[in-house]
C-alpha cells in the first residue's frame, strides 16, 4: 500500500495538531490518589496547604505547573518530590509455606507505642516509610517464614499505610465517574465507569452533536457528554429553577457555549416579549443593573427555547428519578429520526416498563436492555487474579433507535 490512491493522498493531513499539554494550574480540581488507593478531590489553590490526612500535607504551590499522572512523595516542610514508582517485585514460588506459622500478635517485637513514634517521625520527614517498613519486617518473627508472595503482600499492605507518595489525576470523565462510584454512588445515581462509557457509545456522541439530556445524577452524565463535544451542545432539562450539575465544577474546562439548561416547567412555556419599560435617565445604578440582568435572563431563556424547538437533536440521553417513559415521550418530539434514545437506571424495573412500551410501539427499532459486567484483576507476576471484592452492579441501559411514525 505504498502507492496512495489520489483521493486518499489529498486528504492525508500533514501532521495532527496536538492538544495543549495539560499541567496543573492554580484553581484546578485534582483527584489525589493516596497510598491507600483511596482518592479525594482537592482544589489546588495557590498558597494553600493540601492535607492528605494521616499521609501528611503539602504546599499546593509545589504541585502547580506539574503534570498529571506522576507519583510524588511528601518530604519535609510541605515540599514534594517526583518519586519513581516501584515496579513489580520479583517474588517467586519457593518452598516456604504457612504450615508452621501460628497467628500470634506477639510475633511483632515493636510495641504499639514504638510504631506510633515511628509514624510521628515519618510525618515530620525524619524517618522514611521504607525505614518504618524494614523495622517492622526485621522485628516480625514470622516474617522470615513467610512465602515470597506473602512477604510481598505484607510489604504492599504496609506501604499502603506508611507511604507518603500520591498521584495527582486529571478530572476526566472516567476518573470522576470512578471517584463518585467509590465515594458516593448515590450522588451520581450509581452509574459505573463501564455503564457511562456505554451510554456515550450508544448515544453516538461526537464533536458536533446536539444532545438532549436529562441528568438527575448531579451532572456526571452531562459532564461526560460535554467531554466528547466541541462545536455541538448539550441541552439539559432539569428540575427546579437552576440545574444542579454539581459535578461540572470539578471539570477544569469551561462549559460556555456548549451547555444550555432548561427547567421542565419551561418546556411548554410561551414566552411573552420582554415587557419592562425603558428606565428613566436618572434611574439608580441598581435599577439599571437589575433591568440589564433580567433582560439577559429573558434573552437566555428565549435562546434556549429556540434551540429546543428547533428540534432534530442527535441523541436523547436520560438518567432520571421520574417515571422514564413519560420523560422520553415528552422529549421525543425534539429528537431527529434514526437517532438514539439511551435511558439509564440503577435498577432494572423502571426500564422494564419503558422497554415493554418501546417494543410494542412502532416508533423504535433495535430496542435493547443491557447490564454492564465489569471485573478488575490484580496483575502481579505469577499472582494475577480477579480482585477479591468488586462492585455488584453498575446500572442498566435501555437503548433504541427512534424512527418516528405513529404509536407514541
Amino acid at each position: 500500500m505504498d502507492a496512495e490512491p489520489a483521493a486518499a493522498a489529498a486528504a492525508v493531513v500533514a501532521g495532527p495538531a496536538q492538544l495543549e499539554r495539560t499541567v496543573i494550574k492554580a484553581g484546578d480540581h485534582v483527584i489525589i490518589r493516596m497510598p491507600s488507593s483511596n482518592t479525594k478531590i482537592v482544589c489546588i489553590r495557590a498558597d494553600s496547604t493540601v492535607s492528605l490526612g494521616k499521609f501528611g500535607s503539602f504546599n499546593a504551590n509545589a504541585l502547580i505547573g506539574r503534570t498529571f499522572g506522576h507519583t510524588f512523595t511528601i518530604v519535609q516542610n510541605g515540599q514534594i518530590e517526583p518519586h519513581h514508582q516501584a515496579g513489580f517485585d520479583a517474588a517467586d514460588i519457593t518452598s516456604a509455606n504457612n504450615q508452621t506459622i501460628v497467628d500470634d500478635p506477639k510475633s511483632q517485637k515493636l510495641s504499639f507505642e514504638e510504631i506510633e513514634g515511628l509514624k510521628k517521625q515519618s510525618l515530620l520527614g525524619a524517618v522514611s516509610s521504607e525505614e518504618i517498613i524494614s523495622s517492622l519486617t526485621e522485628n516480625n518473627e514470622a516474617f522470615a517464614q513467610k512465602t515470597e508472595f506473602s512477604k510481598s503482600k505484607y510489604i504492599r499492605r504496609k506501604q499502603s499505610k506508611f507511604n507518603k507518595s500520591f498521584v495527582p489525576l486529571e478530572t476526566t470523565a472516567y476518573n470522576l465517574c470512578e471517584f463518585f462510584f467509590e465515594v458516593n454512588a448515590q450522588k451520581t445515581r450509581g452509574v459505573r465507569t463501564d455503564t457511562l462509557a456505554q451510554m456515550l457509545a450508544l448515544a453516538n456522541v461526537y464533536a458536533g452533536a446536539r444532545v438532549l439530556c436529562v441528568d438527575d445524577g448531579q451532572g456526571l452524565v452531562v459532564g461526560a457528554l460535554l467531554s466528547r463535544i466541541a462545536g455541538g451542545c448539550v441541552l439539559g432539562v432539569h428540575d427546579g429553577d437552576v440545574a444542579n450539575y454539581d459535578v461540572l465544577r470539578y471539570i477544569n474546562e469551561p462549559t460556555e457555549g456548549r451547555l444550555r439548561t432548561l427547567a421542565w416547567n419551561k418546556l411548554n412555556h410561551q414566552q411573552p416579549a420582554f415587557a419592562e419599560p425603558e428606565l428613566a435617565a436618572d434611574a439608580s445604578e441598581n435599577d439599571v443593573l437589575g433591568r440589564a440582568r433580567r433582560l439577559r435572563g429573558h434573552q437566555k431563556l428565549a435562546d434556549t427555547l429556540a434551540e429546543v424547538r428547533q428540534g432534530n437533536f442527535d441523541a436523547l440521553v436520560v438518567s432520571t428519578k421520574y417515571a422514564a417513559r413519560k420523560v422520553v415521550i415528552r422529549l421525543l418530539p425534539y429528537l431527529g429520526l434514526s437517532r438514539m434514545v439511551v435511558v439509564y437506571d440503577q435498577c432494572r424495573e423502571p426500564l422494564t416498563e419503558v422497554y415493554a412500551w418501546m417494543r410494542d410501539s412502532h416508533a423504535f427499532v433495535n430496542v435493547q436492555l443491557t447490564e454492564g459486567w465489569l471485573r478488575e484483576y490484580q496483575v502481579l507476576p505469577s499472582r494475577t487474579h480477579p480482585t477479591m471484592s468488586t462492585s455488584g452492579g453498575g446500572g442498566f441501559l435501555l437503548s433504541a433507535i427512534y424512527v418516528g411514525g405513529g404509536g407514541v
Binding site: 493531513v13 506539574r66 514508582q85 462509557a197 467531554s227 427499532v365 496483575v379 494475577t384
Partner: protein, 325 residues
C-alpha cells in the same frame, strides 16, 4: 457519515438496512441499483431523497425495511468479519479509559476489521487523528477502502506495516495507543516512542489470554509505564416477556385458569391508553389474568472477549522542572 449525522439519504451514502433485531446489513446507495433481500426487492432510486430512519416498502407493497443512519455502534453489528472484532462494551470502556475526545491523537494496531477504528474516528474527529496499522496486506486494503467510502480519510490514516518488526515510525505524537496484537509486549517499546512525553500518555493492550497479560504487564513495567490495571468489560442482554400470574385460589375453588399470555392486539390497545407493562386483563372466558412484565438474561451471552490491560506513561518529571509560577 460515521462521524456526523445528516438528514437525507443521497446517492453514494452508506445506509444500514434494518430488517429486524437480528438482521441488519450495510448498503451503499447508488442510483439505478436494485437491492434484494428476503423481504423483497427495493429500488435504490426510491431511497435517494428519503430521510434517514424512513421505512421503505418493497415493490409489491408487502415487505418493508428501515433505512438507518450508519453509526460506529451499528457498524460493529454489521461489519464483515475479517478478524475477531471488538464489541461495544470493550470499545466504549477503552475509549473512556483512554480519555478519547475530539482532538486526541491515537495509534491503533492492528486495524483488523476496523470495528474499533470507526468508533475512535467518530470520537476524536474532526481535529484529532487516528493512525492505524495492519500487517495483513489485504485486510489493510479492505479497511482503507472502507475508510474512503465512509469519508473518514481526514481523521484516519491507515498503513500496511508490521509494527513489531518496524515500529510505528512515529515519535512523541500520540495521546493514546491501543495494541491488539498476538505479542503486544514486543510493541511496547514502539508504543513508548510514539507516545507524547510532555503530557500523560495512555495505553491499552487487548489480549484474550491471561499468559499474554502477564508478559505484557512485565514489559510495561520494564519500560517505565505505571498504574498497570486490568479489566474485563462485558454486557448482559436482557429479553422481556409477559408472564401470566394466575391466582392459585381460583384453582382451589375448582376453576380452570389460563396460562396463555394476553394477545398482542389487546396489548396494543393498552398502549394507546398509555398503560403498557404489568397489569390485569380478561381472557376469553371472562376470568381475570394477572400479568407481569419480566426480564431475564438471554440464555447465552458473550462470556469472554479479551483482557484489557491499561497503563499510563507519566511525563518526565525531574528536579529541573521549572516550578516558578
Amino acid at each position: 457519515m460515521f462521524h456526523e449525522y445528516k438528514n437525507v439519504i443521497e446517492d453514494g451514502d452508506t445506509v444500514i438496512v434494518y430488517l429486524n433485531h437480528n438482521s441488519m446489513s450495510p448498503l451503499k446507495v447508488e442510483a439505478g441499483q436494485v437491492y434484494n433481500n428476503r423481504f423483497g426487492t427495493f429500488k435504490h432510486d426510491d431511497m435517494i431523497g428519503l430521510k434517514y430512519g424512513s421505512k421503505v416498502v418493497n415493490k409489491d407493497g408487502r415487505g418493508f425495511v428501515f433505512l438507518l443512519h450508519p453509526t460506529p455502534a451499528l457498524w460493529t453489528q454489521v461489519v464483515p468479519h475479517r478478524t475477531q472484532i471488538l464489541y461495544l462494551p470493550d470499545i466504549s470502556f477503552i475509549s473512556l479509559y483512554l480519555d478519547l475526545r475530539p482532538g486526541k491523537v491515537m495509534i491503533e494496531s492492528g486495524t483488523g476489521s476496523g470495528s474499533f477504528s470507526h468508533s475512535i474516528a467518530r470520537t476524536i474527529a474532526p481535529t484529532g487523528h487516528l493512525y492505524t496499522f495492519e500487517y495483513h496486506e489485504i485486510r489493510a486494503q479492505t479497511a482503507k477502502k472502507e475508510f474512503i467510502e465512509h469519508n473518514l480519510t481526514s481523521v484516519v490514516t491507515i498503513e500496511h506495516r508490521d509494527v513489531i518488526a518496524n515500529g510505528f515510525g512515529k515519535a512523541n505524537i500520540a495521546d493514546a495507543v491501543f495494541l491488539d496484537l498476538p505479542a503486544p509486549w514486543d510493541a511496547v517499546a514502539a508504543a513508548k516512542a510514539a507516545l507524547r512525553k510532555d503530557t500523560i500518555g495512555r495505553i491499552c493492550c487487548f489480549s484474550p489470554c491471561i499468559e499474554q497479560v502477564q508478559r505484557t504487564a512485565l514489559a510495561l513495567d520494564e519500560h517505565g509505564f505505571s498504574d498497570i490495571r486490568m479489566y474485563e468489560s462485558l454486557a448482559k442482554d436482557y429479553e422481556i416477556r409477559n408472564v401470566p400470574q394466575p391466582d392459585i385460589d381460583e384453582v382451589i375453588d375448582g376453576q380452570r385458569v389460563s396460562f396463555k399470555p394476553v394477545k398482542n392486539d389487546k396489548k396494543k390497545r393498552k398502549l394507546e391508553n398509555g398503560s403498557a407493562g404489568s397489569g390485569t386483563d380478561t381472557d376469553a372466558n371472562g376470568s381475570t389474568i394477572k400479568e407481569l412484565t419480566v426480564t431475564k438474561p438471554t440464555d447465552v451471552v458473550r462470556g469472554h472477549t479479551s483482557y484489557l490491560t491499561f497503563a499510563i506513561l507519566a511525563p518526565e518529571e525531574g528536579d529541573d522542572v521549572d516550578m516558578s509560577e
